[in-house]
């Protein structure tokens, strides 16, 4: 198949080109940027937000939004740590059970968000934001504001064991990206997300149970938030009620920068991956090239706008909301 340099193709590949451009730019200023060790650092930093971004991509593709990730991740991280310690505090000694338990917990939390949205007919924006606060509040309640630490070397191998120079959790994250891509492209549920996002009325008329698809979407996102929580704990060795802080901004920004349209039906998992990488490359690169810190936040904002401008086809949009 021959790729033509059409407008559609340029826009489809724009996020990847932005990423490439940034890498070239930062490497030109400081060649250490492209060293294998730095790439591993970027990948490691990107792993937890990547999981959150994958989860929220499914929701955004449906044309909804999920802002519950900070609360969901904090709660899952805290519960994971407490459960892990209760089950013996070592992965070998039965504490592995905490992993499936937390994935279920994440699914339940997401499902609950979905129920608030679908059953109570509250816009997903408000429902998920509120559920996020519930999650953070619950995390404060369980920990009493304290930090819960995990010191199991086997579990921490996710961070410390390197294969081909990259920590184990990065490899697992790659597999999970493939899984998410598979769900999106090769399952009924994945196709239904697009059907709902492309036109809810039409999907409904074609026999898609829109409510059930939405609930499944939120539950699936919840599972990915739980995975993000586990990675976050593996990375920092601790959980507290603010473990999920900042993930909302990074995840939503990444998804949009990657070219997933907030109005639904456009973009997908791979866009989210590129988006997360763009945001993390910017964050790392600005320090690596020695940009003064008072310029960093401002420049991040400008770069995000540029990336969005380049990677969305605004001809498809009649108005921005």
């Amino acid at each position: 198949m021959k790729m033509k340099l059409t407008r559609e193709n340029v826009i489809r590949w724009a996020p990847a080109l932005v990423l490439l451009g940034l890498v070239v730019l930062f490497t030109a200023i400081n060649p250490a940027f492209l060293s294998q060790r730095n790439l591993a650092r970027i990948a490691l930093a990107a792993t937890p937000p990547m999981m959150v971004a994958l989860g929220v991509t499914f929701i955004i593709v449906m044309g909804s939004i999920d802002l519950s990730m900070e609360g969901a991740v904090s709660l899952c991280a805290v519960l994971f740590c407490l459960l892990f310690l209760k089950l013996g505090g070592s992965l070998g000694a039965g504490a592995w059970l905490a992993i499936p338990a937390i994935l279920l917990c994440g699914a339940f939390f997401g499902w609950l968000t979905g129920m608030v949205h679908v059953r109570l007919q509250i816009p997903s924006f408000m429902a998920s934001l509120a559920m996020g606060f519930v999650g953070t509040g619950a995390a404060v309640l369980v920990t009493g504001g304290d930090i819960v630490r995990i010191d199991d070397d086997v579990f921490r191998a996710l961070l410390t064991w390197r294969i081909l120079g990259f920590p184990l959790m990065v490899h697992i994250a790659v597999l999970l990206v493939l899984l998410a891509w598979f769900i999106q492209n090769h399952t009924t549920l994945g196709r239904n997300f697009y059907a709902v996002g492309g036109g809810e009325e039409l999907a409904h008329a074609s026999g898609v149970n829109v409510r059930r698809v939405r609930l499944a979407g939120f539950a699936l996102a919840g599972v990915f938030y739980a995975i993000a929580a586990i990675f976050q704990v593996a990375r920092l060795g601790q959980a507290e009620s603010v473990t999920g802080a900042n993930l909302m901004f990074i995840a939503i920004t990444s998804v949009v920068v990657g070219g997933v349209a907030l109005w639904g039906g456009i973009g997908g998992v791979l866009n989210a991956v590129v988006g997360v990488l763009i945001v993390n490359v910017i964050g790392n690169g600005m320090v690596v090239i020695g940009l003064p810190n008072y310029l960093q936040d401002g420049l991040l904002g400008v770069l995000v706008i540029v990336a969005v401008v380049l990677s969305t086809d605004r001809r498809l949009v009649s108005f921005a909301k």
């Binding site: 250490a32 650092r41 490691l44 630490r149 976050q232 990375r235 920092l236 603010v242 790392n284 810190n293």
Partner: protein, 370 residues
């Protein structure tokens, strides 16, 4: 006009009048002890009431302050409930109004410890206390031109905390561990926060005495563990092996730094922190941190009440004390690997038994203005 409305207005006017009269009466009662007290320092009060005026008890910090106050009250043979809590809820007006009400109720026979909530509020509070003949010690908030020694004996003392000097101490410990040479990075708090500014200033002070140590970079990590981990790994790319020591503005930041280094297989980097959280104390004991700093709010709460009380009953006469006993920095306890275990046993595993008449021993010298 309907009779209903007329009656209503009459009634309201009456209530207002009554209120004014009652108010005047109240002011008069307040003024009486004030008139007798002014100009002639009363020798001593007998069995004064004791109060703590603070924000609220929900935060761990203020909870520790008030617990210290209660411990002092129990130490003089009274019950916990004899410490009156004047809760300002973060409102300066309420703080002042509550203190005036307390002065009126006790007729000035009282000792008050107080955080005035904001700096300008300190003056009206201490003026009201002096007028009523009571005694007061303040912490944290007062304007620079307000001094206890300008109020005779009634404004007993003011205590606040400075982060600059302790941060300098941690930097020195760090530099010595680095062998007096090499490169250091600083991961700070939110750039505009006062503690963040002071903790970085402390590092700069220490750098002057170590010419062979280079400050490679200082950037804000926003008091956040995740951000600190990310920033540290970016520093590693930029400076690599040139980093031989890390100065953190908070324990939370140090946690992120330790994990970022662990991911790279670096376990022997000298790191110092600040705040004295229980987890950080443990890390000092484990050897992963060189030092952290604790500010002991429990002692601060107890000693402020004790100062006001003992001045009130005449144990000491504030105006006979030197200025460094009237305005001083609160204690900051440096926790190093040598004393972390002892610190944990003394402060975290059990509540220490303080000598509430050792007013100035643990303090940190007279407040300096710039």
């Amino acid at each position: 006009m309907s009779t209903f409305i007329k009656d209503f207005i009459d009634r309201e006017v009456m209530t207002r009048r009554k209120l004014l009269l009652a108010g005047a009466a109240g002011i008069a009662t307040m003024a009486v002890p004030g008139m007798s007290g002014r100009g002639q320092a009363r020798a001593a009060l007998v069995d004064p009431a004791i109060a703590w005026s603070y924000r609220d008890r929900a935060s761990a910090y203020w909870n520790a302050v008030v617990s210290g106050g209660e411990a002092f009250v129990e130490s003089i043979g009274r019950g916990k409930s004899d410490l009156v809590s004047l809760i300002s809820e973060g409102s300066s007006e309420k703080s002042l109004a509550d203190i005036k009400a307390f002065l009126a109720k006790t007729g000035g026979n009282c000792a008050i410890a107080c955080d005035p909530n904001d700096s300008p509020n300190a003056r009206p509070i201490v003026e009201a206390v002096q007028a009523a003949g009571g005694y007061i010690s303040t912490i944290w908030n007062k304007t620079d031109d307000l001094h206890p020694w300008d109020f005779g004996d009634n404004y007993v003392s003011h205590m606040t905390w400075s982060d600059e000097q302790p941060s300098e101490q941690t930097a020195r410990i760090l530099f010595e561990a680095m062998g007096g040479k090499g490169g250091v990075v600083h991961l700070g708090g939110i750039a505009a926060n006062n503690p963040a500014v002071e903790r970085l200033a402390g590092l700069h002070n220490a750098l002057k005495d170590f010419p062979d140590i280079e400050l490679l970079d200082a950037q804000p990590a926003d008091w956040d563990t995740t951000k600190a981990a990310q920033l540290m790994s970016s520093f590693l790319t930029r400076y690599g092996d040139r980093i031989t020591g890390v100065h953190c503005a908070a324990d939370n930041i140090a946690y992120g730094v330790i994990e970022a280094l662990r991911a790279e297989g670096i376990t022997d980097m000298p790191i110092v922190a600040y705040d004295g959280n229980p987890e950080a104390v443990k890390l000092v004991m484990d050897g992963q941190l060189l030092a952290t700093v604790f500010t002991n709010p429990y002692w601060g709460g107890g000693i402020s009440a004790a100062l006001a009380y003992h001045a009130a009953i005449g144990t000491f006469k504030p105006s006979d004390e030197p200025q460094e006993h009237r305005e001083f920095y609160g204690p900051t306890i440096l926790i190093t690997q040598a004393d972390a275990a002892a610190f944990k046993a003394q402060y975290l595993d059990a509540t220490p038994d303080y000598d509430w008449t050792d007013f100035w021993g643990p303090g940190n010298g007279q407040i300096q203005y710039r």
